[in-house]
């Protein structure tokens, strides 16, 4: 995991003078030099947000502002919103001022109510969001939905309605509490073993930093599978930036989580 740090001002002088993406992306022929553009994507500027995997109101406000300035559309995936319990972590991008000018939000009942197999989700496209030519994004999205989709199952939509009344909301909260407790158990296990752990609060996943001695994240995945029969996800599976991390999900039944932690305490012991 190489992460080059440079002062932001230097970056701006190189890139932001170029008018939008046309310079970097569309018209530039793919050449050897081209890859240099992407080296910069490894540059990250330090900040001190400690929350890990859930973005704060300040961070999202800044992102919305930036997208507006740069004319980008933000597609916000809020599928894990119900896991948010911290005050300063918005559950929807539309809690951010100005978001309706730049953002689309996709979401799902999968993790709310165990609908991973039932299948029910939704997307919010603000009425005023426009493309460069002034046409409405919502009109085109409506065209996709009416042409290539026939509506969600009527049975499933009845289930969705039950999710949204008081009793359904209560049941959802209890389910989420259960998974969050799993996340806490996982997080504590790895912290006590001496690993740096991210996530697991306001989120049903933990991200564990792997020591270099363990090899790559796919090596760690194989080692854990072979030694403790626990299936994890290697960080590299989520993109090159995930190398050096291991992701664990909190969605297993409690007994399994506890059993997995007992085994991992042996397998993942640090010297």
């Amino acid at each position: 995991m190489s992460s080059i740090c440079a002062p932001p001002s230097k970056l701006s002088s190189i890139f932001l003078v170029a008018p939008a993406s046309h310079f970097c992306f569309f018209l530039a022929p793919i050449s050897n030099n081209y890859t240099h553009v992407f080296d910069l994507s490894e540059i990250s500027v330090l900040n001190s947000n400690p929350t890990g995997a859930a973005a704060t109101k300040e961070q999202l406000t800044e992102m919305v502002k930036l997208c507006k300035e740069r004319g980008s559309i933000l597609v916000f995936d809020a599928a894990y919103a119900p896991f948010i319990r911290s005050d300063n972590v918005p559950k929807s991008i539309f809690e951010i001022e100005g978001a309706k000018d730049v953002a689309i939000e996709v979401n799902s009942f999968s993790k709310y109510a165990g609908f991973t197999g039932v299948r029910l989700g939704w997307t919010v496209v603000p009425a005023g969001l426009k493309f460069k030519d002034g046409s409405l994004v919502r009109d085109d999205f409506n065209r996709v939905m009416t042409t290539a989709f026939n509506g969600a199952s009527n049975i499933v939509q009845a289930g969705g309605l039950a999710c949204l009344d008081d009793e359904g909301q209560k049941e959802i909260n209890e389910l989420i509490d259960y998974y969050l407790e799993n996340a806490k158990i996982l997080r504590t296990t790895f912290e006590e073993l001496g690993y740096a752990v991210h996530g697991g609060t306001d989120a049903p996943y933990i991200f564990v930093e792997l020591p270099e001695s363990i090899g790559g994240s796919w090596d760690a995945f194989s080692m854990i599978l072979e030694k403790s029969q626990v299936v994890t996800i290697p960080g590299a599976g989520f993109g090159p930036g995930g190398e050096g991390f291991l992701r664990l999900s909190a969605f297993a039944p409690r007994d399994s989580v506890i059993e997995a932690c007992n085994r991992l305490k042996e397998t993942m012991k640090l010297d």
Binding site: T35, A53, M63, S92, V106, P126, G160, V231
Partner: protein, 230 residues
């Protein structure tokens, strides 16, 4: 496993005859497709070049494949496997919500309650409730499109944006944003060294930036995918 492989053999033998694709159970017919893949004639249809750019399989099936490969070698471990991999829920659907589903199904068996095709955007009442209960009316029901899930909607959003946009993704992130961008033809090929696709803006997220991307220091993208919490 033995059961499946005997089906493969049987179907492979059948495939030699002209009746290979006679109707069978779902399992058998899908097995038949794979079993005979090398024996069928090549069509004259060019492969969508964008699909050729995709590296490996989709992540989660790949995890499953490796798990199964391990179990084939160590069948005695089958009962010991615990999955903390894909974020798949395991707890049963709670009673009130389940009842909603059951009643929804029952209605279809009555003359009054039956419904056929519905609005493609979702039932009006559900759209209203989503806007009200989950968004405190920050959005309007007419802005809600009900669907079969977020992953499917990400592809629909991509279809709407088309081939010429540049997408930015958090790195690491849910693989669907990148893979759908590649399928749509927005990207170049994957660099063997960096493992990044040309023409996607990778927004590095790590402990050093609190896993939140520093979009300001990166090239502009048309569409920025952001997942939180992730």
């Amino acid at each position: 496993m033995k059961f499946t492989s005997s089906i493969v053999c049987a179907v492979a033998a059948l495939a030699a005859s002209a009746n290979a694709f006679a109707p069978q159970g779902r399992q058998a017919s899908s097995t038949a497709r794979f079993a005979t893949v090398e024996e069928t004639a090549t069509s004259q249809v060019e492969r969508n070049e964008n699909f050729a750019k995709l590296a490996g399989g989709y992540l989660f099936p790949e995890i499953g494949r490796r798990r199964n490969a391990y179990l084939e070698k160590n069948p005695e471990m089958a009962d010991r496997i615990i999955s903390l991999g894909i974020g798949d829920t395991t707890m049963p659907i709670p009673p009130h919500i389940l009842n909603g589903l059951v009643e929804g199904a029952k209605k279809l068996g009555t003359a009054d309650g039956y419904s056929g095709y519905g609005a493609e955007q979702g039932q009006g009442l559900l759209r209203e409730k989503i806007a009200k209960v989950l968004y405190n009316d920050l959005i309007d029901a007419s802005e809600v499109f009900v669907s079969d899930g977020a992953k499917c909607d990400i592809m629909r959003v991509q279809q709407m944006f088309g081939t010429k946009v540049v997408s930015a993704v958090q790195d690491p992130s849910y693989p669907v944003y990148v893979d759908t961008s590649v399928m749509m033809g927005q990207t170049g090929t994957q660099d063997e060294k960096t493992m990044q696709y040309d023409n996607i803006v990778y927004m590095k997220c790590g402990p050093e930036n609190g896993f939140f991307p520093d979009y300001a220091s990166l090239p502009r993208a048309d569409v920025v995918y952001l997942c939180s919490p992730k």
